[in-house]
């Protein structure tokens, strides 16, 4: 039972916040922190002290002048570290920039123009996030509070309406009503499968208790996906509230958050938020005076991609090797320790309170009928603005890449929309989308119809200098390594597919290799036990379908059209362009380059290890492959 009602907490917080005259928010997401944002934070504190400017690090009674806070991931990782002073938004901020920001923006309200975001194509400077196309073209429902509130202060979450829906679910709704509301909203699981969340809950609700579990699947293992990490780091309380509502819906009194170990910051923030929620009495025993209890444990994974599969994850929580089981029985019938269990991914759970807040009908009205709501995508690879974006389901690939992410880029980072070659969606389980799919709406069903899937929402954009055979081989290398070894088709099949792809990329492939590869891919797809194996051949099959000419070039001409596959590439110096500056000679780690100063140099193909150091150092573009 809370010591203080959430309404009172909200009132007190807003009362205290009234005296705050300015706010400096520094992004504390993994990306910005790697870029040194905590040093920027320290620099602000030092500068405030130097100028005798009043500031506070927490909102409490008596707080006045400036509030210096961190925020969660704001999604615009490529431009980090990010800092906002009230509504002025600065990018690439270094500690050295802080004195100027404090003197001009904090003290006088002037803008430091050079730190504003400049569009890479148009060079236009933008002052606020509302003006930047990366943000203005998005519809941020789930991510709205990420980047706006302090993830390490539960009071601010509550002040923004947090835990009001959990309270409503516990006090004003029956378990069945909660399930029905979720069914009506049409929310589908954001972890990959796209199963309707409300139905999953209802199946678990009708199972016999008393012991039931809620598991939050935060084992976001797909390379190129980081939306779950961002949500846990940026708004951990939304995940907790979602788990509480799920627990209310099915009648569970215990939950687990299973976070992959590669996300240390997410673990810290989740643990901190749980502790604060327990201290406030929001979480724990006799929740909101309902007489119901709910306890959340955090468990760190130990590095196995297959644990993203629900039955494997459950085995891992039980202290066993993380191997999947045959379904049925589904976790809703027999899950953790044999008890009925609901297992949802982070993004799904973080959306739950929003669904209740806006109402099922309103949520269902966003996006296509069969895939309502918004979806976050981690857009990476060859795009101008890599980062996390949230758009309504059904937005086209073209809109996401060109409008939100600022367009495809060349290898040197310059924007070149025509350079788009393919986008890999859904990670190692997904498929690739090509130029002809640029106008396909991104939703569960449309993507399925073109042989791809949303998966967890990783979207890797690739330009024309990418070799699709190499990409397929890359994914196979990953799935082969992560195959748990329980079933033969996946264990042996991924190994053999990888061997065949290696033959192709190293110039040993024949037409027979292609034929065998395709046949094997189809067998693995059909015969594997769990989703890992069933989807492992997807990258192979979709690249074979859309980029067969590239496979043929590797096999028949022994050429890699993109110049990526090393065994098939030859570095050469164009004598007409070479000025004989000797830079490449210095850069070569194996002394394969010879030549006199001022005269064209040569590469000895026998010594060359094809590392590309020469091509990167040459200022005249004389090294080609």
């Amino acid at each position: 039972m809370p010591n203080k009602s959430i309404e009172q907490i909200k009132k007190d917080y807003n009362e205290a916040y009234k005296n705050v005259t300015g706010r400096v928010t520094i992004c504390g997401g993994t990306g910005c922190m790697a870029g040194g944002s905590m040093k920027v934070y320290d620099a602000f504190e030092a500068e405030f002290k130097k100028h005798n400017i009043g500031y506070c690090l927490n909102i409490t009674k008596g707080c006045h002048e400036n509030y210096l806070s961190i925020s969660g991931c704001r999604g615009f990782c490529a431009a980090g570290p990010l800092v906002s002073v009230n509504d002025v938004f600065y990018t690439h901020v270094k500690p050295e920039d802080v004195p100027e920001i404090v003197e001009k923006t904090v003290m006088k309200g002037e803008v430091v123009d050079r730190l504003l975001y400049a569009d890479p194509a148009t060079k236009v400077h933008y002052k606020t996030t509302a003006e930047i196309p990366f943000y203005s073209k998005q519809e941020r429902i789930l991510l709205a509070d990420c980047g706006r509130i302090n993830p390490e202060d539960i009071n601010e979450y509550i002040a923004h309406g947090g835990y009001a829906q959990a309270k409503r679910a516990y006090l004003e709704m029956t378990d069945e009503q909660v399930c029905q509301e979720m069914i009506k909203s049409g929310l589908r699981g954001r972890g990959g499968g796209g199963f309707p969340t409300g139905k999953k809950w209802d199946f678990t609700r009708i199972e016999k208790g008393p012991k039931k579990y809620v598991i939050c699947n935060a084992d976001e293992g797909a390379p190129g996906a980081f939306m779950d990490r961002s949500v846990m780091e940026g708004n951990p309380n939304a995940v907790i509230e979602g788990m509480m509502i799920a627990a209310r819906a099915i009648g569970a009194d215990e939950g687990y958050v299973y976070v992959r170990m590669e996300y240390p910051l997410a673990v810290v923030r989740m643990r901190k938020a749980i502790k604060q929620a327990e201290e406030l009495g929001v979480l724990g025993e006799n929740i909101f005076g309902s007489g119901k209890n709910f306890k959340i444990n955090v468990m760190e994974g130990a590095g196995a991609f297959v644990c993203g599969e629900e039955t494997a994850l459950i085995a891992s929580v039980e202290g066993k090797r993380g191997m999947p089981k045959v379904k049925p029985p589904f976790p809703s019938q027999s899950g953790l320790f044999g008890k009925p269990t609901v297992i949802n991914n982070v993004e799904t759970l973080a959306t739950v309170a929003k669904v209740l807040e806006m109402g099922a009908e309103k949520f269902a009205a966003i996006g296509p009928k069969t895939s309502p709501g918004t979806k976050t995508f981690a857009v990476t690879g060859h795009v101008a603005n890599t980062g996390l974006v949230e758009v309504p389901m059904g937005t086209t690939l073209r809109q996401v890449i060109d409008e939100v992410a600022g367009g495809t880029t060349n290898n040197d980072g310059t924007v070149n929309k025509a350079a788009f070659k393919a986008a890999q969606i859904g990670g190692p389980s997904g498929g690739c989308l090509t130029k002809e799919h640029l106008d396909v709406p991104l939703d569960f069903d449309s993507l399925k119809s073109v042989g791809a899937m949303i998966g967890s929402g990783g979207l890797v954009v690739m330009n024309e200098h990418t070799c699709m055979v190499n990409v397929a081989r890359f994914f196979l290398e990953f799935t082969k390594r992560e195959s748990c070894g329980k079933c033969v088709p996946c264990r042996e099949g991924t190994d053999q597919m990888l061997a065949l792809l290696t033959d192709i990329t190293e110039g040993r492939g024949t037409m027979k290799t292609l034929e065998t590869l395709e046949e094997l891919a189809k067998s693995v797809q059909k015969a594997s036990l769990c989703a890992l194996g069933k989807t492992a051949p997807n990258p192979v099959l979709s690249t074979l379908k859309y980029f067969r000419d590239e496979y043929l070039a590797h096999v028949q001409k022994k050429e890699c059209p993109a110049g990526v596959c090393k065994a098939l590439s030859k570095y050469r110096i164009d004598a007409a362009k070479c000025k004989g500056c000797g830079m490449c000679k210095k850069a070569c780690p194996v002394q394969a380059i010879s030549g006199e100063v001022g005269k064209p140099h040569q590469i000895d193909p026998k010594k060359c290890i094809k590392c590309g150091a020469c091509a990167r150092t040459c200022k005249f573009g004389a090294v080609t492959r």
């Binding site: 990306g31 870029g35 190129g224 170990m261 590669e262 990476t380």
Partner: protein, 161 residues
Amino acid sequence: MTEKFAPTDKILEEHGYDATKLIPILQQVQEIYRYLPEDVMRHIADKLNISPAKVFGVATFFAHFAITPKGKHIIKVCNGTACHVKGSANLINAVKTKLKLTGNQETTADGMFTLECVSCLGACGLAPVMVIDETVHGQCTPELVSKYIDEVIAAEAKNAK
């Protein structure tokens, strides 16, 4: 003998000798030794009343657990999709060349460095990414790899003096 296992016993006790907590137990034990020594694993099996095979099974299943000693400094090169298309293979080769690692060798002969290729660090916005111990180096190049490793070696030499 009992003294040797004292830190492990403390961890086991914190978890109430509960075999379902095997993974967190092994994680904490590994933090002490930087890997999982065989005798320690046998001891854990004994205390939890499960077979050593079960403990080894879990220890060898998950990538995070090491059954051989790791180097003093861990270099992680991210080979996630975003890093891969931005050239992480060149970084891996650069580390191997720099540290004279051959074939599948991960740890240098002097036990100073261990190279790990990880699937995704979730810092895709900074691709390609390399992490030395706790320091994240974004938008890395083979030339920078060499520079960062030299910095660690220089710091080690300074400490030794």
